[in-house]
Amino acid sequence: MALADTPQQRLADMRAPSPWLARLKPIGLALIVPGLLLIFWHVATARRWTRLIPTPYETAEYMVDFVFGGIYNDAFSATAHIHLLASMSRVYGGFGLAMLAALPLGLLIGRIPLARLTLDPFFQLMRPIPVTAWLPLSMILFGLGARSAFALVFLGAFFPILLNTIFGVKNVDPKLFEAASMLGCKGNAQFFRVVLPAALPSIFTGLRLGLGLAWFVIVVGEMTGVPQGLGAVIMDGRTLSRTELVICGMIIIGVAGFISDRIVVAIGNRLLRWSPNHHG
């Protein structure tokens, strides 16, 4: 909307809440808690309550160096993109692979009783094992390195996708099958015209959870001696006692995970416009 040109217009804009204001309000509200935290961080470090953590300003400066370089010019200057890309490739690679495995399996287990009886007990047994507990085994199997991280991300994303797909497919309203069959859509045709669309909201929830977990797990995965990746940066920061590096790594993971979640939600909102209770 154009800015006010006339005094009257300006007055009117001041009184009536403008669409701009309406849009800024949630952003403003969302910034309150991070803002307070930042202030607390600043006060705590400026007053030397702790000497172990750098001030927000130092951290910001280091972040600039980490991303663009030109301030400290050490081994980590201007390397953020390398680490981010390394982590992203593992997150999305592992997630993609988990999706390729979990979606068909979930559809199968949800739809075919024989598949359910054979596979479901096994997965229910595996599910409670935390992903991090797999770390030693995955290091033994895949060695120290990127493949191990990849495997952990895969495991982390696999179960939420699988379980939500099964749930979605099993919980299709039986009335819809009756409606479809009396309209002339029978047997396997119902799979694409009824089961899949009806299960989509659940499947999407699974994908969203899975991607979130993939970002969650990546740090653990990258602590197993990979040279690049945000998890590796955080570990290096700890060993080198460079807390600012640790915090920068954390912030980048947080932001990247957040953006990737927003993208999934945006896609979901678009695909699931029809669903009254699906708005992320």
């Binding site: 009396m182 309209l183 045709a189 009806a198 029809w274």
Partner: protein, 259 residues
Amino acid sequence: MAEPTLPIIEIRNVTKTFQLQGQTIHALKDASLSIRKGEFVTLIGASGCGKSTLLRIIAGFEKPSEGEALMWGKPISEPEPQRGMVFQDYALFPWLSVRDNIAFGPTSRGVPKAQARDTVERFVDMVGLGRFADAYPHQLSGGMRQRVAIARVLANDAEVVLMDEPFGALDAMTRERLQEELLDIWARTNLTVVFVTHAIEEAIFLADRVVVMTPGPGRIESDNPMALARPRDIASPEFNDIRRALSGKLHSHHGKKAA
């Protein structure tokens, strides 16, 4: 010469039992009913007397335990597009727009695209939902949803429309509007309608024949032709007489049961 009086739907001595927690429930016992093409039949009776069961057998969702259900003299073995069902809770596909819900049947049956599109537009207009053609079911009122459900079976060339308390969840005004619209559509087409309801007035207002059913086990108590001229006036004395008579038939049974 072909049989001139072959009914479109015939129920012959149908019994339907369900096993429920080790008990045998007689949902229907020895029910017989024959419906001619173009008739508007309402089924009325107390809760649990087997109305829905009878309708679902006609639809092909359930099989009779004994006896047979026929359409044009052939056994009904599965749900088919000629017999369209309108459910009380609509059962629309929530992910499809009004237009696509109505198109679901024709596209499932492989009707050519252009022809399907014409049919769909015709029925969208017939039920007065032109402005809402692109809306999703959750954006519609109950009455509008039920209109879509009706259009959906009509667009699919249903000869028989089976309706299980289709207006039960609607407010009185919407209900009356839809009753009139349904009669209007029925009068203009060659549809056969089997309509389940709890409401005596609705049954009398709509029907050529009111079939009264009684529970425990579900039986057809009586079959009452309605001679009243259309359009019917709910407030007229004739209407009232019929209501009183039917009400007696419905409630006499309760008396017997209590005794």
